[in-house]
């Protein structure tokens, strides 16, 4: 046997590795995959990786990076070594995700109607009503079938002990699922042999499930429902995904300017005149959805859309106003929500979080600033964060002042050492940090896509998995017992 690609693989000390245990033995679920891949030399592997990259380029499976006047289309880097999860573990994750989404859904229905959870003081009112994602204008609106979170992308990370924890709930417009489906397809096309003797759970039913869910929430009685995917347009970096989903669901892809509202009904401008629309899977943020209700300067949305939705004439997927449910300030209370609405204990753990609004938590945070990650609750995308372990003294002191001045605006978490997965670096296989974004689709009931999007930080030592900053992705396998 030639030199296999895993030869000389060194896992990182103090980190959980998705493939190899402390003694360097493959975890049982990955044994078959490791055997397969080890039959490849580095040269073979390089060739396969090249084939896969060419497939993405040919298919135009790209995202666009804008830099001043110019734009470049890039493929989202794809790593041919799959991320493997044992089916037994997955069943528990699945149950945990469904439970979580159920609770978040009940929470949304509650905060936009009776607000029981606020009245009973389970969650501080100011955190909910002060959240940027909370839309007081929507109070009293009930979306069709009371489904708010039709599509969720929940970010999970594996801690040092190997336990998966929820890091973040994305229940507004989560993206990335097209890569899950394309990654699998590319993998099958370029390296069918790797699926030999392994039973990997299929992912392609995602779009059928999504279609079913959209159908289930369509207003009115049976009959054919007209559904559309609403995109900000071809200059959006995720346009590929919008177009992909429209094609797979078998519905039309529209931009805001293709729709109009008349007498509280939504119509598309078609070559045959106005065509009524029943379900809109929107990929536009709340703020831009309806200039009559939210940002007046939005050119992307549809004037009158919210009125049509409130009148029950159209389903919007995901519902409007969901931002309050995946707010950083609300996150620490999700386990309480689960207990409050479902009378169950949370199945999935999440990252321990200190809420500075609580006096005890706050004094703990102030004493341990240099060990914690401190986040303001109302900032998106990592702005205004303190990474305690790597911060300077001055930065910590500065943050101390900010937290003391406005404790209600801050939460803090201990830093989690993300797990690693063996990843091809163009020369060899090395450990790289990964996270996982499973997708949950909810119509009449919830369904979890087996696996999800594994994002990998391709730069050595990096924890940043975003595609714009050196992140890539992997095919994610839920694998049953070896056959």
């Amino acid at each position: 046997m030639g030199k296999g690609i895993f030869e000389g693989y060194q896992r990182l000390a103090g980190t959980f590795d998705e493939f190899f245990d402390a003694d360097g033995k493959p975890q049982s679920a990955v044994a078959a995959v490791v055997d397969h891949l080890n039959e490849l030399t580095r040269r073979d592997f390089r060739r396969l990786q090249g084939l896969a990259d060419a497939t993405f380029l040919r298919g135009g499976i790209t995202f666009t990076l804008y830099d001043g006047n110019s734009s470049t289309e890039r493929i989202f880097p794809f790593d041919m070594i799959p991320r493997v999860i044992a089916a037994r573990e997955w069943r528990e994750i699945e149950a945990g995700l469904v439970q979580r989404i159920q609770a978040l859904n009940l929470f949304l229905a509650d905060v936009y109607s009776d607000q029981r959870i606020l009245q009973e003081d389970v969650i501080p009112r100011h955190l909910v009503e002060g959240s940027k994602g909370y839309r007081s204008q929507l109070k009293g609106i009930r979306p069709p079938k009371d489904v708010w979170v039709h599509i969720a992308g929940v970010d999970l990370i594996r801690d040092g002990e190997g336990r998966l924890r929820v890091l973040e709930d994305n229940v507004r417009v989560p993206s990335g699922v097209s890569y899950v489906l394309e990654n699998r397809e590319t993998m099958k096309k370029t390296y069918p042999a790797i699926f030999r003797n392994v039973s990997v759970e299929a992912v392609e039913s995602y779009t059928h499930k999504l279609r079913e869910a959209m159908n289930a929430v369509a207003p009115g009685e049976g009959g054919t429902k007209r559904m559309v995917v609403l995109t900000p347009g071809p200059f959006n970096s995720a346009y590929f995904e919008h177009s992909y989903l429209a094609r797979r669901i078998g519905c039309e892809l529209v931009q805001g300017s293709d729709l109009f509202v008349e007498r509280n009904r939504v119509y598309a401008k078609t070559t045959q005149g106005p065509a009524p629309i029943d379900v809109i899977y929107r990929r536009i943020d709340d703020d831009f959805l309806d200039p009559e209700v939210f940002r007046a300067d939005s050119m992307l949305g549809v004037p009158g859309l919210i009125g049509a939705w409130a009148a029950g004439n159209v389903a919007i997927v995901n519902a409007v106003g969901n931002g309050v449910a995946d707010d950083k300030g609300v996150y620490p209370f999700v386990p309480d929500m689960i207990r409050f609405y479902l009378s169950e204990d949370p199945i999935l753990p999440q990252v321990d979080t200190y809420v500075c609004a609580r006096e005890d938590d706050c004094s703990y945070v102030l004493e341990h600033l240099s060990e914690l990650v401190v986040k303001p609750v109302n900032e998106a995308g990592g702005y205004g964060m303190l990474m305690g372990p790597s911060a300077t003294r001055a930065e910590c002191a500065e943050f101390r002042k900010r937290v003391e001045a406005d404790p209600r605006n801050y939460i803090a978490q201990s830093r989690i050492e993300l797990s690693t997965c063996p990843t091809w670096t163009s020369k060899a296989v090395e450990p790289r940090h990964v996270d996982l974004r499973p997708f949950v689709v909810t119509g009449d009931r919830s369904w979890v896509l087996p696996g999800g999007l594994t994002r990998v930080a391709l730069r050595k030592g990096s924890y940043i998995v975003n595609s714009s900053q050196g992140g890539g992705s992997k095919d994610t396998w839920v694998v049953g017992e070896s056959t």
Partner: protein
Amino acid sequence: MISRVADSCFWLTRYLERVDTWSRLLDVTSSFSLDVGPDGSGRWRPLVIVVGQEKDFLERIGAAGMEDAEVVQHYLVWDERHPASLFSSIRAVRENARTIREAMSVEMWEAVNQSWLWLTSRSAKRLYDRERGAFYERLSSDCMMFHGICYSTMLHEDPFTFMKLGRAVERIGQTSRILDVRHHALGESSQDDEESAAMAARWLAILRSCSAYEPFFKRAANVLSGSAVAEFLLFERTFPRSVLHNLDRVRGLLERLRQSNDATGKSPAWESLERFRGSVLQLDMDEVRRQGIHRVATWLVDETAVLCNAIHEEFLDPSIDSLRARVHRNDRVAARRQLRAQSQVQTQG
């Protein structure tokens, strides 16, 4: 279908047709220059004029460049700064295709994407430098391939119809332009049938740039002359790039759209087409000779623009007011229908 998507289907094939026509025209013009030797002056300038870029060319490149085969070709193939270059057209094809991938088959998208990736690759530049003819042939065969792929992979319904519609109207304009190239090359006075070897070569070049060389000679009555060529390109119904053939085709396509849309009311696009087509049917070669080919060609290009506007207003970009009015009309019809159903139930009860 969504009007914007129909618009992109329509424009996708219009740009594609430009690539097809112009890569063939450039190919023929460069090999034609070789045929007749170094006396090549005035051969490239007409291309720049007919493509509508004279002003831009003079401003940015200068008059001297118009006589230079390499400068003009580079301008018409690679220059990204004007919309008429092959490069810009293929980019527009691809951008339109990317925007409406949901309306196309995977095979169509991959074909368009491959052409674009190739054009931006080093091997395209190399082929352009070393084997100019093969470069142009590749582009024009990519275009034809695309139509074949469309035909055999996509549903033959509205998006397909709009793609064919775009191609047909673009061909009317492009064939007219090619006839006009001759005018700009020779001047109106020499349009009559001079029987010299040099003239014959020019007529043949015109036929070649419309892929009409062999089809022309299949019509036995045609002897090679200026008016025979013009007549063929204007009125030969069975020739797929002739003006009349494409007017017939537009007619058929508009009819198909009306059928698939169950349309009964007035159709401005249809009316515009009938007017245009009627005038072309009344035209004959005596009249063309009398007016001069340049005037006729210009008229055809202008009428095509009028037709396109009508198609835009009716299908591709209808005004919001007309749409709102249609909603109200539909609501009234539905209400009346409901009322009638109720009264029937009551009388039965």
